[in-house]
């Protein structure tokens, strides 16, 4: 019995719609407006058409160069954290207990990093990684690796990656755990009856059943890592040099740092376009086979 179509439903949607329009469309219009103009700060604007976009997409220009390098950094960063967090999340989900009080304890502990303000996550690792007052910094230097995330780009990258793994892996684990929990007990019984080994159970039942949640985890993690700003900004401020200057830091630098509105706007729009494309993939996955969490029969 599918949903009736009734355009009066727009009355219900209108309030939320108007507010989101106010907070999204109007600002986006100003961004588009800036991106086609040039200004010297004293509120005089000169039409520049697609000038900024051409410059942006041309690696030889200063703006284009910065765009491509920071885009490259973002893609590398996202690739690395996905390669670590997705498998690790699956393994942790599989090693979580299935019933008893320990389940609740695990869920709470694993959720803690997800609830910490992103700048405090940066602060934690900023302190933790310092060689003078941080356990990690002191330990690594004690062992002879002169680890210094402020000076050495490689150490900075390592710190940011470990920080992100620390911050978000439990989300992947929790998503996989939810996927595992939705598998009816009968499947495990059938596998036991068929004499399946643990590996066979994983490949035949768990992985296929986790397929959808894994896809959601990958997309969520890609998008969040692609627009990361606060944590690297707090720990390395985009440095040393601009080795950890991601796209979002670049945009803020140009917009609020140099007040170069045109360039920042153009960069923002292209940046947002990438997000839109990934969102579209996310949307088709999420609304493809919509799982119906049955509220009446208890939590999903």
């Amino acid at each position: 019995m599918d949903k009736p179509s009734d355009n009066k439903a727009w009355l219900l949607v209108l309030p939320a719609f108007l507010l989101v329009v106010f907070t999204a469309i109007i600002p986006m219009m100003t961004v588009v407006n800036y991106s086609v103009q040039d200004t010297f700060g004293n509120n005089q604007f000169f039409w520049n058409g697609v000038g900024w976009y051409k410059e942006l997409l041309d690696p030889s220009t200063e703006l284009g160069g910065r765009f491509y390098t920071s885009l490259g950094r973002n893609l590398i960063f996202s690739a690395i954290i996905l390669a670590i967090e997705i498998p690790l999340g699956i393994v942790v989900a599989l090693s979580m207990p299935r019933e008893g009080w320990s389940v609740a304890a695990c869920l709470v502990i694993m959720a803690l990093p997800l609830l910490i303000p992103w700048n405090v996550v940066g602060t934690i690792w900023q302190i933790f990684g310092r060689s003078d007052i941080g356990l990690l910094g002191a330990a690594l230097n004690g062992v002879g690796l002169n680890y210094n995330y402020v000076a050495n780009p490689l150490d900075a990258w390592a710190t940011i990656i470990v920080m992100d793994v620390w911050h978000w892996t439990s989300l992947v684990a929790l998503l996989c755990y939810a996927g595992l929990k939705s598998i009816p007990e009968a499947y495990y019984q059938a596998a036991r009856i068929d004499g399946a080994s643990r590996w066979a159970v994983f490949r035949a039942i768990q992985l296929p059943k986790m397929h959808r949640v894994l896809l959601i985890a990958v997309l969520l993690r890609f998008m969040d890592s692609f627009m990361i700003y606060t944590e690297p900004f707090v720990v390395t401020g985009g440095g040393p040099g601009n080795s950890t200057t991601f796209l979002s830091i670049e945009v803020v630098k140009i917009a609020l740092g140099q007040f170069d509105l045109g360039k920042a706007a153009a960069l923002s729009l292209v940046y947002n376009l990438v997000i839109l494309i990934v969102c579209w993939v996310f949307y088709t996955v999420m609304t493809g086979s919509r799982s119906r969490p049955h509220v009446l029969g208890g939590s999903s």
């Binding site: 019995m1 599918d2 009736p4 009446l296």
Partner: protein, 363 residues
């Protein structure tokens, strides 16, 4: 109060769920919508209730057009197949909910809810939550809520379908008593002919969104106007055999011919379909008038009181039902016979050509 569908059709996504149906239901009557799954029973009920609006045609209440009216303005109650109750309210509040909305006095609400609860044996559960009860009790709560309101139109959409075998039997036996003393128009959807016969009143046979026949239940059972109506009104499915009548002789698909008997004698020559229900196909050739067939047993289904024996003869499958326990082994040969005087005869277009006289035969 009478409720009428005038040339109503409902097309959803290009598919016609209801095709040009006209139906008038009188006050204080019980009407059964009988048909297989996906024959349009639920769609029709939702149109009657006003939950869905027809694509064409009008819905009339006492002659007034209520086609687009919101259900709230209508006096309608409905019981769904998957026993819908308010999970956060107790059974008492669930039943009282329509009266609470009408802001009835507390005393009146108390009294009417207790009456409905007594009628459906729910007194011991009034302060429990619906989800704590068994399927049967949850459905009784939903039925009690539908009755307490004294709505003009009460709709029940296959209310027993999700219940255990024995629970279904108990509730089915109580339903006639529950409906008796209410002045509403009752509409009851089901796939089982035995429920239609038990409830009596009128029946509309539905097939693919159309009403094949509408009339008093027992009349349709005894004189289905078409092969479709006979199919809808037979469980297990009606047995049939193609015959050709020529000069007082009946020839069967396997070639052998027999003298025409019973009402076959008064029919013009031509090709017909002889149709007979399971209990009209008897074991052995016990009456001189009947036509015997030597078939092979496929399976014998035992319910305790009766046994359904599935037989195949010359490629066509039939079902015969006999009282008692008959554990026949598949593959056994079995002589079955049908007395033409008790069978139906349909012409090539499927319209009824001849039917057994209602009172006497075993029809």
């Amino acid at each position: 109060m009478s409720i009428t569908l005038a040339n109503v059709s409902r097309v959803v996504g290009g598919v016609a769920h209801i095709r040009n149906v006209s139906l008038e239901l009188e006050r204080r009557t019980l009407n059964v919508l009988l048909g297989p799954t996906l024959s349009g029973k639920t769609s029709m009920m939702r149109l009657l209730a006003g939950l869905d609006a027809p694509t064409e045609g009008r819905v009339l209440e006492n002659g007034q057009d209520v086609t687009g009216a919101h259900v709230r303005s209508r006096s309608v109650a409905m019981v769904y197949q998957q026993f819908i109750n308010y999970p956060t309210l107790t059974v008492f509040e669930n039943i009282a909910s329509p009266l609470r909305v009408q802001r009835r006095r507390k005393k009146e609400v108390e009294e009417r809810v207790r009456n409905a609860a007594r009628l459906l044996k729910l007194e011991p559960f009034l302060d429990r939550l619906p989800l704590e009860l068994s399927g049967g009790q949850q459905q009784r709560t939903a039925i009690a809520r539908a009755l307490v309101k004294d709505a003009d139109l009460v709709l029940l959409d296959e209310p027993l379908a999700n219940l255990d075998y024995k629970l279904r039997e108990e509730l089915r036996e109580e339903l006639p008593r529950v409906f008796e003393n209410s002045g509403a128009v009752f509409v009851y959807a089901t796939t089982e002919p035995s429920e239609a016969l038990l409830l009596g009143g009128n029946t509309a046979c539905l097939r693919m969104g159309e009403i094949v026949q509408f009339g008093r239940t027992i009349d349709i059972y005894n004189r289905p106007s078409s092969l479709y109506a006979a199919e809808v009104f037979s469980d297990p499915p009606i047995n049939r055999i193609a015959i050709t009548l020529a000069g007082g002789k009946v020839t069967f698909p396997c070639g052998d011919t027999r003298p025409a008997r019973g009402q076959l004698t008064q029919l013009a020559d031509g090709r017909y379909t002889l149709a007979f229900r399971a209990h009209q196909l008897t074991f052995g050739d016990n009456t001189d008038q009947s036509y015997p067939f030597c078939g092979k047993v496929l399976l014998s289904e035992i319910t305790g009181s009766e046994s359904y024996v599935h037989v195949v003869w010359a490629g066509t499958q039939w079902v015969s039902v006999a009282p008692g326990v008959h554990n026949l082994l598949p593959g056994m040969t079995l002589v079955v016979a049908v007395d033409p005087r008790e069978a139906f005869v349909f012409d090539e277009t499927g319209r009824l050509a001849a039917a057994p006289p209602p009172a006497s035969g075993r029809g």
